[in-house]
């Protein structure tokens, strides 16, 4: 049922996500700098960055086609919709019936295909190199993510993210061995999909090793701002999905203002801890060679399949 409170919760979820996403990126960057003994940029640095980029004019390559210009908007829209269906604050989301966990994976894939196509559009070596690498990561990460979500949906007998989270959150406390294995796989996938160390380095500008940065090398101005914002949204969405699947406590299931009011600080607290963990992972690991990435992701994929099998074997 689509209720008014559901619509309000839906819009609120998207707006909060849009507003919070750069903050999470800033938080991770700050902690990473501290952990690496550097002086950290301000927490609000990503916002300043976005503002600056939006103000700048967009420099387009002479041969850029319309596909190149529309891709950032599509990527941004996909990520906004992902944040709309991922249960961040509440599980009563009207959009969640329109797109379930499989459609969520499809959304990530849609964004990936468009950004890769846009990278190939200009025809520079780095763009197509980045596109190839991004698709390479994608084709292994995507099924792994799907299998992780399947383990959860086998437990809850539903592929709707909202229902999965609600069922897991409102059961008496139980540890599911399958979810534990799936959690590890999810962490691997999340690192790869968000272009984090050990798969990619968001801070690099050394062309030969980069993936995400190579993809967006030709973007500038507002297009770049949208892509950066979308990347923050993706990080937030992955964090929220991970927290919702594996640590779901505290999410509001009814749309009373009070429940939402409690849900927001709980979410922020969980995200803050998650951000520190991410910064820690990025600090204590080294970036691996590109050729090792398929092995890394194949491990994630196998773990996810094992999680499914564990569920079938143990029924939990």
């Amino acid at each position: 049922m689509v209720t008014l409170s559901g619509i309000v919760a839906q819009i609120l979820a998207i707006v909060v996500a849009l507003a919070l996403a750069p903050l999470l990126t800033g938080w991770v960057n700050q902690w990473r700098a501290w952990l690496q003994n550097r002086s950290a940029p301000s927490l609000l640095q990503p916002y300043r960055m976005l503002h600056k980029l939006f103000n700048k004019e967009s420099v387009l390559a002479e041969s850029a086609s319309p596909l190149f210009r529309i891709a950032p908007y599509i990527v941004f829209a996909c990520m906004a919709l992902v944040c709309g269906i991922a249960p961040t604050l509440s599980t009563d989301l009207p959009l969640a019936t329109a797109a379930d966990a499989i459609a969520l994976v499809g959304l990530f894939a849609l964004a990936r295909v468009f950004i890769s196509l846009a990278a190939m559009d200009i025809g520079t070596s780095f763009g197509s190199l980045g596109a190839r690498r991004e698709m390479l990561i994608g084709f292994l990460a995507e099924p792994a993510l799907l299998m992780v979500l399947f383990s959860a949906s086998l437990i809850t007998q539903s592929t709707s993210l909202a229902n999965i989270v609600q069922t897991i959150a409102h059961q008496p406390f139980a540890i599911y061995p399958s979810l534990a294995v799936a959690g590890v796989a999810f962490t691997f996938v999340a690192l790869a999909e968000n272009a984090r160390i050990p798969v990619d380095n968001p801070a690099t500008h050394l062309e030969l090793t980069m993936i995400h940065e190579a993809l967006i090398l030709e973007y500038s101005g507002r297009h770049l701002a949208l892509i950066e914002w979308a990347a923050s949204l993706k990080l937030l969405a992955y964090s929220c999905i991970g927290l919702a699947l594996f640590l779901p406590w505290g999410i509001a299931s009814a749309d009373t203002p009070l429940a939402m009011l409690i849900a927001l600080p709980v979410l922020i607290a969980k995200l803050a801890v998650g951000g520190i963990v991410l910064a820690l992972i990025e600090t204590i690991n080294a970036k691996m060679r590109l050729f090792r990435v398929p092995e890394f992701l194949a491990t994630a994929f196998l773990l996810a399949v094992i999680a499914l099998l564990v569920h079938v074997l143990l029924g939990a």
């Binding site: 004019e57 829209a77 959304l107 196509l117 559009d121 596109a131 074997l313």
Partner: protein, 666 residues
């Protein structure tokens, strides 16, 4: 009796158009401007009648053609009507494209091509209408022959003649298996009508024999591994509209055959049949997608992608068989609906992509991915519509491919209720492999689209590429619109698939789906799983529009054009872009054991360094070449009998006579 008569009339119309082509053998204008558009209109009408017939009671007819006492029995039920719908709807787009495509005649005079083309169409339609083995086999062979002549349209090229021969050979191996299958199915009654076969109850052994023969026979036409070798040769050799028909439509007649035999003609299903199809389908899908990722010829890439899709179809059918064998008809209906959804969706997007390669081929004369690039700027229509096909083919929401994939994955998720615990363990692994195939298909499609349409033109002559003609565009728009509509209105499409599953299983998912309104697809219940592509599409489009408006409103819309960033190396040329080989390289490395790869790497001292990589099929060397050598060896032995002297032949007759007399005596 109305729809069947009308449909037969329309098929007669196709034949008449073909014959008219004979009278205008070299009149390209007449054939292109009149006959092919008329054929397209007939296709459209056929689709409309098939759609109406889908919801009607089955109709039968007896055509008194052929041998005396052996008329053609025809029957139009839900299953036939659905496949007629696919044939009509896809051919409508392909024919109108062909009207703009066959401009110069491709080696064969255009009038003759027109005859072969329309006979091919009509025979495909008759295959799905046939209600006895005799009519079925005649039409099946007509289909094989007419498509053989279409494949070899450009018969002056030796490679094309070879591809055609291979196709004909494997088509006949398959036809023999199908013939034997019908022989088993009639159970010694001597009555070859399908009605009689339905009435027979075979022992599990003979039922399994019939099923295996059907799998081999129809599998040879569908291109399952290891009977796939003809497909990547024949589909690229044919002119593009023919490739589109073969990949998009003809392969589906094989799927029709598998469904007809295993669900309709055989009265019981055995669980391991489902496992077998599941396994074959999975291997075929993985094989197809891995090979399509490393192709450097755009039409071969699509042909391998068709193999992958056929694999997915077999997986869906296998799952349906498995559920049916355990009496879980509701889940079987879900799996079969997924497969049938993929049938119609693949018909549209694969035809669209093959036709797009046809336009590219016409505009540039190039099929090699290594010599294309940047065509989005020269051919914006084709590029935009090909993008729709690419997205549908990658299984991305909200296009048609995703719905089929979604339904298939849903049916996998509910498999854990099977009474066989071993299968319960196996199924998640299969689901994982399906997810892997779907993701790899995305990789392949990005390669396909990116290398052809994006980037810089890799050859100077691409600057003269001309856009597609209006008729070609019309065909592409029709198919592209199909990809979008099939993706956005799944509830309505499932309503049209429902009569088919009712025929095959006596159950369907449409009533469950309709309870949630026309926008929301929820095959079991909304709590379990739901997907609403229309809302999905509107939200994404709305968000794009809103973002663009807000950004322009609060900031600005200024754009400056500049040369692309050259990383401080100004001497870059378009040849330095990533090539199709480069794009396939990671897949070559990861799936290395699957390929038979030969590489020639230059040494640092070569004056003219060359790099060569050739990728071949293991099956060719493991199976086909040994078989060919064996056949040749036997033929040589038999050849020894042929001494060419009359005395020796008389001696043979004499010895035979003696032996026969001895046998008779003994």
């Amino acid at each position: 009796m109305i729809f069947l008569d009308w449909i037969l009339g329309l098929l007669g119309g196709w034949l008449a158009l073909g014959l008219a082509g004979l009278f205008a053998l070299r009149n390209t204008d007449f054939v292109a401007r009149v006959l092919f558009p008329a054929g397209s209109a007939i296709g459209l009408a056929l689709a409309a009648f098939a759609l109406l017939a889908l919801f009607d009671v089955p109709e039968t007819a007896i055509l008194a053609v052929g041998l005396p006492d052996l008329p053609f029995h025809l029957r139009l039920d839900g299953l036939s009507a659905f496949f007629l719908l696919v044939i009509g709807a896809a051919s409508a787009g392909i024919s109108i494209f062909a009207a703009g495509y066959f401009r110069h005649g491709e080696g064969t005079p255009p009038g003759l091509l027109c005859l072969e083309y329309h006979v091919f169409l009509a025979s495909m339609a008759m295959v799905v209408l046939a209600d006895d083995a005799y009519a079925f086999m005649v039409m099946w062979e007509t289909m094989a022959l007419s498509s053989y002549f279409l494949v070899t349209a450009n018969h002056r090229v030796p490679a094309i003649r070879q591809a055609g021969f291979l196709y004909l050979l494997i088509a006949h191996v398959g036809a023999i298996a199908i013939l034997l299958c019908f022989g088993v199915l009639q159970a010694n009654t001597g009555d070859y009508t399908f009605a009689n076969m339905r009435a027979q109850s075979l022992s599990p052994l003979w039922a399994s024999v019939a099923f295996l023969l059907a799998t081999v026979g129809f599998g040879a036409k569908a291109g399952i591994v290891p009977l796939h070798v003809w497909l990547p040769e024949a589909h690229p050799a044919a002119p593009s509209p023919v490739s589109a028909l073969m990949s998009g439509v003809m392969l589906k007649t094989a799927i029709y055959g598998v469904l007809r035999v295993s669900f309709d003609l055989l009265s019981v299903q055995i669980w391991w049949w489902g496992v077998l199809l599941l396994g074959i389908g999975l291997i075929t899908a993985l094989f197809g997608v891995a090979f399509s990722a490393v192709q450097t010829d755009m039409k071969r890439l699509l042909a391998y992608s068709s193999i992958e899709n056929i694999g997915l179809l077999f997986v869906g059918i296998g799952l349906g068989l498995l559920f049916k064998a355990y009496g879980m008809t509701a889940l079987a209906a879900l799996a079969l609906t997924a497969a049938l959804y993929h049938v119609i969706s693949h018909a549209f997007f694969k035809s669209l992509l093959f036709l797009a390669t046809g336009s590219v081929l016409h505009a540039t004369g190039e099929r090699s991915l290594g010599k294309l690039g940047g065509l989005i700027r020269r051919m914006p229509w084709v590029a935009t519509l090909a993008l729709v096909g690419v997205l549908a083919s990658s299984g991305l929401p909200p296009f048609s491919g995703f719905v089929a994939e979604w339904l298939l994955l849903q049916s996998f998720l509910f498999t854990t209720g099977l009474p066989n615990s071993f299968l319960n363990m196996l199924i998640p692994v299969v689901a994982a492999a399906i997810a892997l195939v779907a993701a790899l298909a995305g990789y392949v499609m990005v390669k396909f689209y990116g290398v052809i349409f994006l980037g810089q033109p890799r050859e100077p002559n691409l600057a003269h590429a001309h856009p597609a003609s209006p008729l070609e565009r019309t065909g592409l728009v029709w198919l592209g619109a199909g990809c979008v509509l099939l993706g956005v209105f799944p509830v309505q499409v499932i309503g049209a698939i429902d009569p088919v599953t009712q025929v095959l299983l006596g159950d369907g998912i449409a009533t469950a789906v309709r309870t949630n309104g026309w926008m929301l697809l929820a095959p079991i219940s909304v709590e379990r799983a739901s997907y609403s592509p229309l809302v999905f599409l509107l939200v994404v489009v709305g968000a794009v529009w809103l973002t663009a408006t807000l950004v322009h409103r609060f900031y600005h819309g200024r754009v400056r054009r500049a040369p692309p960033w050259d990383c401080g190396f100004p001497a870059q040329t378009s040849r330095m872009q990533d090539t199709a080989e480069g794009f396939g390289q990671p897949i070559r490395e990861i799936f290395a054991p699957v390929f038979r790869m030969r590489r020639e790497v230059p040494s640092p001292f070569d004056a003219k360094p060359t790099y060569k990589v050739s990728i071949e099929d293991h099956f060719w060397h493991w199976l086909y070449l040994p078989l060919g050598r064996l056949t040749e060896g036997i033929a040589r032995l038999v050849g020894r009998l042929q001494q060419g002297r009359i005395a020796i032949y008389l001696l043979y007759s004499f010895i035979t006579l003696i032996v026969l007399l001895l046998v008779a005596k003994w």
